[in-house]
């Protein structure tokens, strides 16, 4: 017997108060297996103990939401009996320790969350953030994470269609790797995790259980220190081939009327899947660990319960259907083992080697899980000091060249060319635009999907930053002509036990709530990653938003690429020229201060709805939203991707960094062919939407007021060179 002492309890991340609760509930000391189970279930990662009082305030419903938070993934209605199933999840800590495997298993895990619900994954996205480009670890982490994401997704044959990459010193010792997966299912064929039917079998399928990833969930909820590299054994190893087989086997079994409930074994492995499934169904569960397929000899009950070996699922099926189900898994060469039974005792009972290893009332684990209303203080920067923006003699083209060759504005092509973004043959709009478009296979409908966050805004003003993250996602989905439906969120923050960090969380959620409500863009799934700190220094608050929208008819959608000469280019939405927290301020002026740009949500909605109508009703085909870097950067992206130039004509006063590079929100650039221009101008005027004419598309150059010009070819080279140069050096 292992003695449960203070040190051991502490190592399991359980505090005095929590341990007292365990003692009084069990009326005895826990066994080591039980201690491990409590530790995993009550880790921040599984229990959301610091975040749930805030998360439950988020809007989670609209008329298209079929399943909100609480299941493996969220589900929305796409019409015609089709549903989209999606979620985003973090794999930050493992990716910092072992970038390839950390990122790969993050992708594998999020796909299981989606196909466990009966959906075939059709799109992967990610949101990845690294430290300063000259930090000694950044190159190694970047290349490892990118190849890990590619390695897993490419092998699975699921296209990686979009994402975002950011570099900022706040992630030096705490990179972020958030992966999102979207799947398609039939509404009447969605599978849930609620166990039911006393006497039904608990079935384990997939890969064997090994010693990898033990206590991954607890590790993922702890702050790092200089010895973090020593935690490498707790990082799981991915096998995308096994997952591909598991995917096909599960989907095949799902066409038969056999599965009662199913859940993947993700964080905290068998422990969390068994506990969550039984708790949701209000039943007890007995497990005999002797039956669990193990990869290594002599694994203890503790190890089996806490292993985070990948590519495993837990299912509930009727005992007389076991043979039929087993045949499917035999075909795919995967393990299939009946490891337990549902009971009416409301207890989790675990036996191993003919010994009772754990017996815990399930309500203690689930509803007894701690929940903290942590004190918080929302801190924001003071107003941006406009006097810091000095007049510059540098030409706008020169500034543009510097900006699009900077780490956060350069082309991400180096990244997404390593991802198979075309497999499945339904990628209609590839990475590099505002949102990716993926056709619903066999239909003429399209999903628009994007991931977004602007952490520097959230750091400067958590409430405004939270609003902006949701609004930018909504704007990106709108830009391609889709109706934004719902989001998944991945909330990456520092240590919530600190007031100001909890204040960042509370502030960002408050901003998100307002944006989700006004834009009718609820949260249907998500994940929280706290303690992203090393040696006491936290990351910028980073709420990564994964947005999904629907294009009902793919005959009309728009892309950012300029398509023709002689279009009229319009800037829609008002430009005040606000430079606070802009990339211009950081890269060119070296100023990182002030409040972020304001988001006017009512205006956002009015302009976005109008743009969407122009695409769907008036057949406008070229739209790009304006975000990081401002107007001239956005227009340059349109030019580069379309290979068509623009003759820009501006009032002289607007040929200024404020106008050209300010990051005012709620703006779009549209390129309008002659035959549409009078209609579109009339519509914008009638809706009282501010716009200004910028110029005409033509030739192969960007020309500003007939005085300054540059070939698009050279802009393209500058834009694409940064990654190659960086990785060469």
């Amino acid at each position: 017997m292992i003695k449960i002492d203070k040190e051991l309890i502490e190592e399991h991340g359980i505090n005095d108060q929590e341990y007292e609760f365990i003692l009084s509930s069990l009326k005895r000391e826990p066994t080591i297996t039980e201690l491990g189970i409590f530790s995993a279930m009550w880790s921040e990662h599984c229990s959301y103990k610091s975040s749930k009082t805030w998360l439950k305030k988020l809007p989670t419903k609209n008329n298209k939401v079929i399943q909100g938070p609480g299941e493996n993934a969220g589900v929305i209605d796409l019409g015609d009996g089709d549903a989209a199933v999606f979620k985003m999840e973090s794999h930050n800590h493992p990716s910092f320790i072992e970038p390839y495997q950390g990122a790969a298993t993050g992708v594998g895990g999020i796909m299981r969350d989606v196909f466990t619900m009966g959906a075939r994954p059709v799109a992967l996205l990610n949101s990845i953030r690294f430290g300063d480009t000259d930090h000694p670890k950044t190159k190694h982490l970047l290349t490892g994470v990118v190849s890990g994401i590619g390695g897993y997704g490419n092998c699975m044959g699921v296209p990686t269609v979009g994402g975002e990459v950011e570099f900022n010193s706040c992630y030096n010792d705490n990179i972020l790797v958030n992966a999102m997966c979207v799947g398609i299912a039939k509404i009447d064929k969605i599978f849930y995790s609620k166990a039911s039917g006393i006497g039904n079998s608990v079935v384990y399928v997939g890969s064997k259980t090994g010693r990898d990833g033990i206590h991954g969930a607890t590790m993922a909820s702890a702050e790092f220190d200089d010895d973090s590299d020593e935690k490498r054994p707790t990082v799981q190893v991915g096998d995308p081939f096994a997952e591909k087989l598991l995917l096909e086997a599960c989907l095949e079994l799902m066409t038969m009327d056999i599965i009662i409930a199913i859940q993947d074994m993700g964080a905290a492995g068998l422990t969390s899947s068994a506990v969550e499934m039984a708790s949701k169904g209000g039943v007890g569960i007995n497990l005999n660990l002797d039956m669990v397929p193990c990869r290594e000899k002599k694994m203890s009950a503790y190890e089996i319960m806490l292993s985070e070996s990948q590519e495993r699922m837990l299912m509930i099926i009727e005992p007389d259907k076991e043979q039929e189900a087993k045949a499917v898994f035999d075909k795919w060469g995967l393990d299939f083992a009946t490891i337990g039974i549902l009971t009416d005792t409301n207890h989790l009972v675990i036996n191993h080697n003919d010994e009772l290893k754990a017996e815990i009332r399930l309500d203690i684990l689930e509803s007894g899980a701690p929940s903290y209303d942590r004190p918080y203080k929302i801190i924001k920067e003071s107003a941006f000091d406009e006097s810091l923006v000095k007049e510059t003699a540098e030409s706008p083209i020169n500034i543009l060249k510097r900006l699009i060759n900077s780490p956060n504005l350069c082309s991400r092509k180096w990244v997404w060319e390593q991802y198979d973004h075309m497999v499945m043959n339904d990628t209609i709009l590839r990475p590099g635009g505002d949102a990716a478009i993926v056709r619903v296979h066999g239909t003429n409908k399209g999903l628009a999907i994007s991931t977004d966050s602007t952490p520097r805004y959230c750091s400067a003003d958590p409430v405004e930053g939270g609003k902006q993250a949701v609004a930018e996602s909504w704007r990106n989905i709108t830009s391609v002509g889709a109706l934004p439906i719902a989001i998944t969120d991945c909330m990456n923050f520092g240590n919530p036990e600190k007031e100001e960090i909890m204040g960042q969380f509370a502030g960002v959620v408050t901003g998100m709530i307002e944006a989700c409500e006004i834009l009718d863009y609820p949260v249907v799934s998500g994940n929280v990653s706290l303690y992203n700190e090393t040696n006491g220094k936290g990351i910028n608050p980073t709420p990564a938003i994964g947005g999904v929208g629907l294009i009902e008819n793919l005959n009309h959608f728009s892309t950012p690429h300029l398509k023709r000469d002689n279009d009229t280019v319009l800037l829609v939405g008002k430009t005040d020229g606000y430079l606070g927290q802009s990339i211009y301020a950081k890269e060119i002026l070296n100023i990182i201060s002030g409040l972020p740009p304001k988001v006017n949500l009512k205006n956002e909605k009015k302009i976005g709805d109008a743009i969407r109508d122009l695409i769907n009703i008036n057949k406008l085909d070229t739209v790009h939203d304006i975000s990081d870097g401002g107007f001239l950067v956005a227009l340059t992206e349109m030019s580069i991707s379309g290979g068509i130039g623009v003759k820009i004509h501006l009032d002289e006063k607007d040929v200024s960094p404020k106008f050209l590079f300010g990051e005012d929100q709620g703006r779009y650039i549209i390129s309008v062919p002659d035959e549409l221009i009078s209609d579109i101008l009339r519509i914008l005027e009638s809706k009282n939407i501010f716009f200004q004419k910028i110029g005409k598309t033509s030739g192969t150059k960007i020309i500003i007021n007939d005085s300054e010009e540059i070939e698009i070819k050279s802009l393209k080279k500058i834009h694409e060179d940064w990654f190659n140069e960086y990785l060469k050096g």
Partner: protein, 229 residues
């Protein structure tokens, strides 16, 4: 028309190629699971892209030794046509149905992008609807697509006009700069001497749908289907 698509565990372009075949022939191909030990009589057998058996050993080497490949070889000898795309091409070289081998991309990373190809052999079962030297846009997506063979093999392939496609740019220039993966002589696809086996790294099935912006694979599939008729 009898077409069989072999499905290995880890194949992931099987559906895509089946969709393209159906689109141009109006008939769904048979999907043949790798454990089958007999193969229906087929005019065309397709080895699709993917990561057969995880490709944890050399790409395609496990699949080349699977039971179904014995049957594929027999069919090839009897005159069935065999098409290997991407992982399928790797399986064809591993099983000796085509010469040479596919090694790791020169840049050591996976590459997914559109590539321009020059059609060199416009007479084959698979390519007769193209014109000689036509430049077509067909994407690649692979980590091990760097075609390698010894000098004699390359000379033999070239002398006999067995190169189906070479990587180039929009102007048709074939050089180091237009070579995405380091393949010798920019070779993207080859045909066997008998003319019934073709292997290529680019994915013609990803270029058969106007809405994706790529349709240069259409002539590839119509060539095949007309050849069968």
């Amino acid at each position: 028309m009898r077409v069989s698509v072999i499905v290995f565990p880890g194949s992931n372009c099987d559906r895509d190629v089946a969709v393209s075949l159906k689109k141009f022939s109006n008939k769904s191909p048979l999907m043949i699971w790798h454990k089958e030990t007999s193969l229906p009589d087929s005019d065309l057998i397709v080895l699709p892209g993917g990561f057969s058996y995880g490709d944890y050993l050399r790409c395609g080497s496990m699949a080349a030794n699977s039971p179904i490949m014995k049957e594929v070889k027999k069919s090839a000898e009897k005159g069935s046509s065999i098409l290997g795309i991407c992982n399928g091409f790797q399986i064809l070289t591993e099983s000796g149905l085509l010469p040479g081998t596919l090694i790791r991309n020169q840049g050591l990373s996976f590459i997914c992008k559109n590539t321009s190809l020059k059609v060199e052999n416009d007479k084959s079962f698979f390519t007769h609807n193209y014109n000689k030297n036509e430049i077509v846009n067909i994407p690649i997506a692979h980590n091990e697509g760097n075609y390698f063979a010894d000098e004699n093999v390359i000379k033999d392939i070239e002398d006999k006009n067995l190169v189906a496609f070479r990587y180039c740019n929009k102007n048709g220039d074939i050089n180091e700069e237009t070579n995405p993966n380091g393949s010798l002589k920019n070779i993207a696809g080859i045909i066997n001497e008998k003319g019934n086996v073709l292997g290529m790294m680019p994915h013609p099935e990803r270029a058969t749908d106007d809405i994706t912006g790529l349709n240069d694979g259409e002539k590839f599939f119509t060539s095949i289907i007309e050849s069968i008729k």
